[in-house]
Amino acid sequence: MQDDKTPMIAIRDVVKKFGSFTALHGITADIREGEFFSLLGPSGCGKTTLLRTIAGFEPTTSGTIAIDGKNMADIPANDRPTNMVFQSYAIFPHLNVEENVGYGLKTRKMPKKDIAREVAEVLSLVDMEGYGKRKAHELSGGQRQRVALARALVMKPKVILLDEPLSALDKKLRDQMQVELRSLQRSIGITFILVTHDQEEALIMSDRIAVMFEGQIEQLDTPEGLYRRPVNKRVASFIGVMNFLSAKVTEQTDTHLTLDMDALGKIDLPRDRLGEDITPESIGTVGVRPEMLTVLFDQSDWSQNKVEGEVVDTEYYGDMTYYKVRLPGRDAPLSISMRNTAGRSVVPPGSPVTVGWGAESIVVFGD
């Protein structure tokens, strides 16, 4: 067994080349035991490739992957303590659900009676009792997904790898499965690695997320850390919505910086608000989330800072309203989201408004 220090998966400087094309540029990450870990990034950034090197389907060009302290370099895919839920589900079409789920146990030469018991157990775990005799083509997309999951779970692997398992489902089913998958993972405690390009899905489900761009991990953090403290503009705009404003440091003291921002004016920020790699000289942009800005309905409403503007667009979503507000001296309007509360009506486009904001909501980016 591992002690607390050994990560479940230790990925060190993994490089993967396909011919002259480099799909992974030196990936390093630790994935903890029992963690729900996500690889998030746009299509083509190398998420699947990384997952497949962990599963053993792709040899790494250089670098090492260790699972539970054991180097996987010479261990073929069929001997690794991982199981995969494929994007296409890969349900064997000539076998029924029971035979699919029991497939790996049969390989292990488990007695038939035990296989039947294990299969029945895991099928009830994924809510698929009574479907044992069906073939793949007699199942819906959601049911196939459950069978694929059951087939991996029944092996009781150290790690389950999921490649965009929900992307083929419709929105409603996907939302439901996100919650189910998450609570299932919590209850059984197996380490999950999920590949997804859907930032919302990653935020909802994960303990930690590695955000990847072009074969590199740009930031590895908790969902909240990613959302609140994105390390750069690319991560910030990939996760949720972010308003970017150009900014310059005008004054510095030992503890504080004074920033002059486009349209919002000047603020003082403590130096420790800067990320590790950011020097005051490199600062060129700040970001602020739409929900951190407030449309003030009454001139007398309190806010740390205020700035006058004009509503140019309003989108009403029932529980929320999204405004686009133009500020003087700035072309691109700011996005602002407001929760609709009792007694607060929607401001129509064309109205002058006051926008309130706080210094603590400003994220600083180096350029």
Binding site: A55, F57, P76, A77, N78, D79, T82, N83, M84, F86, Q87, S88, A90, F92, P93, H94, L95, Y103, G104, T107, R108, K135, H137, E138, R151, M155
Partner: protein, 288 residues
């Protein structure tokens, strides 16, 4: 899937319906004639149209016909097994290991079709003959003292010639079946612990079964009825039932007996084919 299959089948039928009409006239009509003939009798040139089972009695009891029938079945079964066994690895290699220029390879496989079948049979005669390429080469290399005679004018020659002739027909259906196998199924099997060998028998082979059955039938059915190859390279040991049928229709002037032999052969091969078809379905094919 059932409804989908039916719809696909329906679309397919529509697509082939002109061909289907053509086949009806060109194939079904002669077939009906042959069947009718088999219940008549012939005395030199006059045909007696009273219905009788005498032809069948003779066809099924005469030792000569039984011998020929068995030999035909034996030859075509051997040819089929040899051809399919050789075709599978080629199709497998093409599908799984050729990454670039698959089309070129497929094209090369069909190259033998560019020459007529008769020419190819004659070529085998040249290769396998007493003073043929094969024998002279082996003698030249000193492997043998005198020419091998067991390779021409007997059953072996028929098997070799037919297996070569039918190879492309056997490769293509297996190739198509292998191409259709979703590669992630193979990865899933590996992921669940299968060694490459186990995976082959549990996934690849069952899923390729429709192609294997198709190849088997494509080779088996026509080879039973072949009469050119045995005539040219088979000698007397290599004669098959179709040669006898040909003789009955021609020299022997007994078309009804020939027809009865033909219908009998057809029924036998039909039953065998059905057997293979269902066995294949059962083996691999709990697929669809």
């Amino acid at each position: 899937m059932a409804w989908r299959f039916d719809r696909e089948a329906g679309q397919g039928l529509k697509l082939i319906s002109p061909t289907f009409g053509y086949v009806l006239v060109m194939l079904a009509a002669p077939l009906l004639m042959v069947i009718t003939f088999s219940f008549w009798t012939q005395d030199y040139l006059t045909i007696d149209t009273t219905l009788t089972l005498d032809n069948y009695r003779e066809a099924w009891t005469q030792p000569l016909y039984q011998v020929l029938m068995w030999r035909s079945l034996k030859i075509s079964l051997i040819v089929t097994v040899v051809t399919v066994l050789l075709a599978f690895p080629i199709a497998y290699y093409l599908s799984f290991h050729v990454k670039k220029r698959k089309a070129l390879w497929l094209f090369l496989i069909t190259v033998p079709f560019w020459t007529s079948y008769l020419l190819r049979v004659f070529l085998w005669k040249v290769i396998l003959g007493y003073n043929g390429v094969f024998n002279t080469t082996l003698m030249g290399l000193g492997f043998i003292e005198e020419p091998l005679t067991f390779i021409l004018y007997n059953l072996n020659a028929v098997v070799i010639t037919l297996a070569h002739a039918w190879a492309p027909f056997a490769i293509l259906p297996i190739f198509v079946a292998l191409e259709k196998i979703d590669r992630s199924l193979l990865e899933a099997a590996t992921d669940l612990g299968d060694s490459p060998m186990r995976r082959f028998f549990r996934i690849t082979l069952p899923l390729a079964m429709p192609g294997i059955v198709a190849s088997t039938l494509i080779v088996l059915i026509p080879t039973v009825g072949d009469f050119i190859t045995p005539r040219l390279v088979g000698g007397t040991d290599g004669l098959m039932i179709s040669n006898m049928i040909q003789i009955q229709f021609g020299k022997a002037n007994n078309a009804p007996l020939g027809a009865a032999l033909a219908v009998s052969a057809m029924v036998v091969i039909g039953l065998i084919s059905a057997g293979i078809f269902f066995a294949g379905k059962k083996l691999g094919g709990r697929v669809r």
